[in-house]
Point group: C2
């Protein structure tokens, strides 16, 4: 048996359907909320058959994770046009690199196209442990691991103490930003994230 | 005209109604979610007339805030039986006091009676900015202000640098705990919150 490569037209059609499905999934979760979003609803809105969705994904949670991953990459690229969101900058200056990425994250979180869908998904994750854990495993943890790697290289360079656990340390500057965004508990600005990085690196106790 | 003091029986009846209303409001928000919880539903479940509720509160958001404030005080008292949740301990050792309160907060967040309602309310606050801001103003910020006051007294005692903003500094240890709880992004333990306090006080960079 010879495997046939799909014709260029078929690939273009697939890409167009995938895009339509992502847009429909994001729009529905914003308008109706996660519990009322269904594969049927996504298919109808995207103008594709249900089977087209089931060919690529096995549940609405999976479609939404991929749709959201795609949207979040677009938002990262818009926030820092010259930056690959999968690579953490390493200029050799840990303070500068952390401040740069956190400033870009502030801009990304304030992107209105990104905000409503991420809030809808985050809210559902608070009350739906399985979805929350999937969201963390697929979307949050991979981006946190970039901080872990950057902090490890800072440890090698003597800029972070060797006994510090990077997976916990990153939360000193990432979690305050996340909480202010999730709970409207304070304003988000570049000055704020710069301050978090300074406090986390140097501590709030006298040196 | 002479104002009459309510008879002891009437006061007891009021307190009983208030308790029944709080229990009904909390149960409904857990079972049906915030959007589907109504004053009518709370009244029916509590076995009181709608007018009894409107005599004390003007909206379901207000009833729920008070019900939740009451529940959260119960949970604080259960987590640290000998502790008044409105007073932050001040033994003169800022590290010990922060660790003590954060350990109690871990226990409180793990209290199953407290967890479901606080998740329901927190989730709604993520997508409903007005409720989110009311939640912060009524419930979160007053408890954060206790940290602010304790950090100010640590500044006076020379245990925290004078140029540090206490309202931002507290987020270094409070927000990581909040994010792990809200997003299921990591386990909660006393060892974890102790580590956050050590990192925040002394910084992750070499001294």
């Amino acid at each position: 048996m010879t495997l046939k490569k799909p014709a260029p037209d078929a690939t273009r059609r697939s890409e167009k359907s995938r895009r339509a499905i992502f847009d429909a999934a994001i729009a529905l979760v914003v308008e109706a909320g996660y519990p009322k979003t269904t594969i049927e609803g996504i298919a109808a809105r995207a103008g594709v058959g249900k089977q087209t969705i089931y060919r690529w994904w096995s549940s609405k949670a999976e479609v939404l994770m991929d749709a959201f991953l795609d949207l979040s990459e677009q938002a990262s690229r818009e926030a820092a046009a010259d930056r690959d969101p999968h690579v953490f900058p390493d200029t050799g200056d840990i303070a500068a690199d952390l401040k740069f990425v956190l400033r870009a994250t502030v801009d990304e979180l304030k992107n209105p196209r990104f905000e409503a869908p991420s809030r809808a998904l985050a809210a559902e994750g608070v009350v739906n442990e399985q979805l929350g854990r999937t969201f963390v495993a697929k979307l949050l943890e991979p981006s946190l691991q970039l901080y872990v790697e950057r902090l490890r290289s800072a440890q090698d360079a003597g800029q972070v103490r060797p006994d510090v656990d990077p997976r916990i340390a990153l939360e000193l500057f990432v979690s305050p930003l996340a909480q202010r965004w999730l709970q409207y508990s304070g304003p988000l600005s570049h000055e704020y994230t710069d301050t978090l990085v300074d406090y986390a690196l140097h501590g709030i106790a006298p040196r």
